[in-house]
């Protein structure tokens, strides 16, 4: 029951309405958009405080839930349109992360409106359905620093000179021609973070002098890091198709060099699925001169220990990284097909220098099947890591008998580190 009469003196002075707009903005921006808009009915001073916030984020909770997607979509569209219409002043961040919203003509109008209001960060993640076509007004957003799009079609006009302020680009399931992607990347001189996911059959050459973070996931035929001297973190997941497999077979390049040749400042490398295979092509033809002094973390997943070239990739990486602290390798869960004895001479050969891994502290090996090469690798690590603290092994669950064999072998291993613990994680 509402009291009609309010005695202001009894309650005390207004605590909050007279704080500077920067603080009010700081508070409103941390509220969900519906709560922020609702503050307009608190009092006369609050009526339009929400209207000048510079960040608008519309997520799945901004309209009441209903099972009928079309109703929800209609209310989301109305809400966003009206909020934009009532808004005053620059909008620096605009985000739509709503799975009920699908491609609709209003999106074009919103992007046009934002392009006129100094938009800096634009995130559009709408629902499954038809890909919407980004209007050309996006390319007029001169002040854009962050762009994140998913499930849309991007077609930069020929006259597009790039986003001069763009620092972060994230394209997820975006239909864009390979040339357009490359030119987009190369025309954004300040680009620091690039993420491309779910691209099909892309052969990519990246030229981005300020790039620090690279995240790629998809069916890549070829990746060439042409001009990326400042790269600090790389994470690549390469999927395989028949085309790509063929391409791999026929390739004569040294991918390792092409990919990792120009990234001396690398600090973290993560490779998934067929990445190690990709790097393994042409690796034995070239000797690597480069050292990665800053590289502290390496993660290579789905490594096929049957293929000595892939093992060579790991070894080359490890020996070129004197400051490596953390290593995480996971094997592929394929049971080896080869019936004949594995080429254990490989481990005796002089290609493995005697360098020790002086900083390596943590090693995690997962999906280990206990196969000979894997065991040799573990022995290799144990012998050469004087400061090793933890070596965890997570076996893959196919063959329990192998686990026992693995354990027996492990116990025999010589260890360089007195403090090292070998932890065998068994379900």
């Amino acid at each position: 029951m509402r009291r009609v009469i309010r005695m202001v003196d009894v309650m005390g002075p207004d605590l909050i309405s007279d704080l500077p707009q920067s603080i009010i903005e700081s508070i409103l921006v941390k509220l969900p958009i519906t709560d922020a808009v609702r503050t307009s009915i608190l009092s006369s001073k609050w009526r339009y405080k929400w209207a000048s916030i510079t960040q608008l984020v519309f997520d799945d909770k901004c309209v009441p839930f209903s099972n009928d997607r079309e109703i929800v979509e209609r209310s989301v569209v109305k809400f966003i349109t009206r909020a934009l219409f009532l808004h005053q002043g620059p909008i620096h961040k605009f985000q739509i992360s709503n799975s009920m919203l699908q491609s609709c003509p209003e999106i074009d109008q919103w992007i046009l409106f934002l392009s006129r209001n100094d938009i800096k960060e634009l995130v559009m993640e709408i629902g499954e359905g038809e890909f919407f076509r980004i209007p050309s007004s996006l390319f007029n957003c001169r002040k854009l620093t962050r762009l994140e799009l998913s499930r849309c079609e991007l077609d930069p006009p020929h006259s597009f000179k790039g986003f001069v302020c763009l620092r972060s680009l994230n394209l997820h399931q975006v239909l864009i021609s390979p040339d357009a992607v490359e030119s987009l990347i190369s025309r954004c001189p300040l680009l620091e973070s690039l993420s491309l996911s779910y691209f099909d059959n892309l052969a990519l050459t990246i030229s981005a002098p300020n790039l620090k973070y690279l995240y790629l996931e998809g069916e890549f035929k070829d990746i060439c890091l042409e001009d990326t001297p400042l790269l600090v973190e790389i994470s690549i997941a390469m999927y395989m198709t028949d085309d790509i497999a063929e391409h791999f077979e026929q390739s004569s390049n040294c991918n390792f060099l092409k990919f990792l040749g120009g990234v001396p400042n690398l600090e973290k490398l993560v490779g998934l699925i067929y990445f190690t295979k990709y790097l393994s092509i042409g690796i034995d033809s070239v000797h690597l001169p480069i050292m990665y002094h800053n590289l502290e973390t390496i993660e290579l997943h789905q490594v096929n220990f049957e293929d000595t070239k892939e093992i060579l990739v790991i070894l080359r990486m490890i020996t070129s990284s004197p400051n490596l602290k953390e290593l995480h390798i996971s094997g592929s869960s394929n049971i080896p097909i080869a019936a004949d004895a594995p080429d254990l001479d490989f481990w005796e050969k002089g290609c493995l220098s005697d360098s020790s891994l002086n900083r390596l502290k943590t090693v995690k090996l997962s999906e280990m099947g206990g196969w000979p090469h894997e065991l040799e690798f573990i022995k290799y690590l144990l012998c050469r890591s004087p400061v090793l603290e933890t070596l965890s092994i997570i076996p893959c669950v196919f063959d329990m008998g192998n686990n026992l064999k693995m354990l027996i072998e492990l116990v025999k291993c010589r260890r360089a580190s007195s403090r090292g613990e070998v932890i065998f994680i068994h379900e």
Partner: protein, 364 residues
Amino acid sequence: MSETDLAVIKPEMMKPYVWLQTSDDSIQQVEQEIAMFCPLICQEIIQKGMGSSKNCAICLPQQVSPAMLSLILDYCRFHQVPGRSNKERKSYDEKFVRIDTERLCELTSAADSLQLKPLVDLTSRALARIIEGKTPEEIRDIFHLPDDLTEEEKLEPLRNITADPRIRLLNRLYAKKRKELKERERLKNVEVEEEHVDDRSVDDLLSFINGNDGDPKGVKTSKNKKKNRRKKEQQKNSSLKEASELNKKEVNGHDIRHQSSEAEIISETSYLHCAEDDGFTSKPEFDDDEIDPALKEKIDREVEDFARRLNSDWPERMQELLSSGQERKTVFFTADGFIRRHACMISPFVTVFSLIHHVFRAEC
């Protein structure tokens, strides 16, 4: 602030202190490395060389009272130690903002004036958590906000922001109520000016016009009347004036102010029916909530058509009314009085009055 600057200021062995003056003019001594965590203080020391003695104490902004300064210094003291883990810092922060709302607001203001952004972010987040999910009444209670918006102003955000069908119906109800309030205001003004007036009370008049039931609305209307009188007269009049101007434009442009006129039309539809039925008996309250959706859609469409037709006929009817109708002794006389004085304000209302007028003329 660079490393070299710090080195220059901080001698090796002693722990230097700075002098800070708070809002109540008291001066206190604080370890320099802690105070330097605040950008404003840092700036004062480095650029202006202040704070080295009691005489040239750094004058802190008005928002920093001694209590606030002590809180802020606690925060700085904890966070400027480099060895702490993120988890430790986070849990300290959580505990730090568990203070009453008034002090939290003061703290935000003080931290902002000292340009200590991490603390401003922390306190704003705490304030946002307080506001989130609460009703407007609760928020007003917590922060002592005056409830000084008119009913109409409170409705606007809702109307603009959501198209929930229930809200639309609610808006129609509210619009009806608003119209009612407007009418009462007008009637009040006319009462004062007209000498010979219908001797029925304003409430009776309105209740029959709207064709509503006696009690609940009756009580509410009287309460609203009181509220009206207490609320800022000027604001009401100015909003009425705005509304009248808008209506004028709308009528001229054959445009419809969507929901409000819909509501008006509905109320008029309701008592039109009533007129046909049995003169001016009161009718059960038009209950929006019980309409089934299909019927509601149908009514919406009919209502819109009706409104369009009415508004397009307006100029002709206006002529007729002005040229005729001097001798009415019923309530219509009063309506004519309205027309002469406040023609522009009452458009749909008057047009419907004129319809009733015609209906009865035809029957007489």
